[in-house]
């Protein structure tokens, strides 16, 4: 379980997170919604210790990230797969090398050739052909890069997957494909996921629960049906905006 406790984070004078309390239950997919710039990505980066909170803590499987030793932090990071917004693939490395970096670690040090078959299998899981292995990120389309990013995130068989704006910058067809991929991987791998998005369609499609982050705090955490019935004007204005048109609003 991942639990955010009273998390505060500021950048210079800008308070981004102002006391976030949120937990993610085992096996669920939590869609984290919110307007751009409200700190959704900042929040999930704390779960991996990529950012240090000014106050508060994140607990992952009972380990306090704020107080974790380097060894504990490494262990937490091996349990989590992070899908970055723009894939964050290493430009100077081929797809195979990008995957290899996640397949093994400095301690284990498996040579790249022995990871190749496993890498091809990872690509198949995200519906990419093995021929992509020797290409460089600059030779791939945006959708393909995202998929390679997903393959890299699941390479070390994580228990948790953190998706940072997985559909941003994709056309509707590719965005739908990524939504399907999120659900498919949740089923196949049985992972617990947090999907950060400002795309309502993605949130309602993939989320078992939806949390709305607003002005640095969690405004609501409910199932999709419940949040559509939420009468808080801020929640209702945000979540109903595109749901009324397609007839799914309560």
């Amino acid at each position: 379980m991942i639990e955010f406790r009273n998390l505060h984070k500021s950048f210079d004078d800008l308070a981004v997170l102002r006391g976030v309390d949120l937990f993610v239950e085992e096996g669920e997919t939590l869609a984290l919604l919110g307007p751009s710039g409200t700190g959704k990505s900042v929040l999930i980066k704390h779960a991996m210790g990529l950012l240090e909170p000014d106050q508060g803590d994140v607990i992952v499987d009972g380990i306090s990230i704020a107080q974790a030793t380097p060894k504990e932090l490494r262990s937490v990071r091996r349990r989590i797969g992070y899908v970055f917004q723009n894939a964050a693939l290493f430009d100077s490395l081929s797809v195979a090398e990008n995957l290899w970096l996640a397949q093994t670690d400095e301690k284990e040090g498996r040579p790249m050739p022995s990871c190749r078959a496993e890498g091809e299998e990872l690509l198949r899981r995200v519906n990419l052909d093995a021929s992509v292995m020797d290409k460089y990120p600059s030779e791939l389309s945006g959708g393909m890069r995202k998929r390679v990013g997903v393959a890299r995130a699941i390479a070390h068989q994580p228990r948790y997957l953190l998706w940072d704006e997985p559909t941003t910058g994709l056309d509707p067809v590719n965005a739908d494909n990524i939504d399907e991929l999120i659900m498919e991987l949740d089923r196949q791998l049985g992972v617990t996921s947090i999907v950060v998005t400002h795309d309502l369609d993605t949130a309602f499609e993939v989320g078992d629960r939806i949390a709305l982050l607003y002005e640095g705090r969690v405004r609501a955490v409910q199932t999709p049906d419940e949040i559509l019935r939420n009468e808080d004007p801020i929640v209702s204005r945000f979540v109903r905006r595109s749901r009324v048109g397609d007839g799914t609003a309560a």
Binding site: F84, N86, L101, R152
Partner: protein
């Protein structure tokens, strides 16, 4: 007050990075292949420019010395000035300037770009140490590549200065030049030159990595970071040049 605090924070962060580098150094398995690759790239790609700069530096030194001293001092002094200038100053400093422009700027831009596109975060997220993976190979690569480049720059500077002196200084003979160079030459000067190259190699790659890793913003931020790295390495290079003089005198 805020500037002073920021300055102290920067020095502290640089010290932390230096400490992290030192911690990784005893484990060459983590970085040596990449460091050798970096050294090869830095060395081979920079060699033509280093040699051109050294040639010009040597040529200017012998011509100007000839123009200023001919008639007043024995001609062999030109050989001494040429050897002293090239070995203790021009060889290492011109190599440093070329490397700062070619290697330092490239490292800062690359790491800043990796930072703003979350590639550094991705490394950390995969449980990899960015210092072992990115910084140490570049710093060790610099330490390996710089000294041979300085030796080659010294050789080129002296050959160029020697040739140009014979061509343009009236009455100059090969025997005068060789005598002047041998009169000046001390083994320590050569060791000092190579040592200076290693110090510059460390300073340029370390500062470029440090500034690059602090990159923020988008494309504009990468540009700003690169400029900052070039300015910081230029100043550091010249300050180190001054600070190292007592080392030359000490032996």
């Amino acid at each position: 007050m805020r500037k002073l605090t920021n300055g102290l924070v920067t020095v502290g962060e640089a010290a932390v990075l230096a400490g992290q580098i030192v911690r990784v150094l005893p484990r060459p398995r983590l970085y040596m292949n990449a460091a050798l690759q970096q050294a090869y790239l830095m060395g081979i790609q920079s060699l033509p420019l280093v040699l051109v700069m050294a040639f010009l530096g040597g040529a200017v030194t012998s011509q100007q010395t000839g123009a200023q001293f001919a008639g007043g001092l024995p001609l062999w002094v030109i050989g001494s000035v040429l050897a002293a200038s090239v070995i203790t100053e021009l060889g290492p400093v011109l190599t440093g300037i070329v490397m700062m422009a070619r290697v330092g700027a490239a490292i800062a831009a690359e790491l800043a770009s990796m930072k703003v596109t979350e590639q550094i975060d991705a490394l950390v997220a995969m449980g990899r140490d960015p210092v072992a993976f990115l910084v140490v190979p570049r710093v060790v690569g610099g330490l390996i590549a710089f000294p041979p480049l300085v030796i080659l720059a010294n050789a080129m500077g002296i050959v160029a200065g020697y040739t140009i002196a014979l061509l343009v200084v009236d009455g100059m003979t090969s025997a005068d030049l060789v005598y002047g160079m041998r009169f000046y030459f001390r083994t320590w000067a050569l060791i000092f030159s190579v040592l200076k190259g290693a110090v510059f190699g460390f300073a340029i790659t370390f500062i470029a990595c440090f500034v690059g890793l602090s990159g923020t913003g988008g494309a504009e931020g990468v540009g700003r970071t690169t400029t900052k790295a070039v300015v910081a390495t230029t100043i550091t290079l010249m300050v180190l040049d001054v600070l190292l003089v007592p080392v030359l005198k000490a032996f």
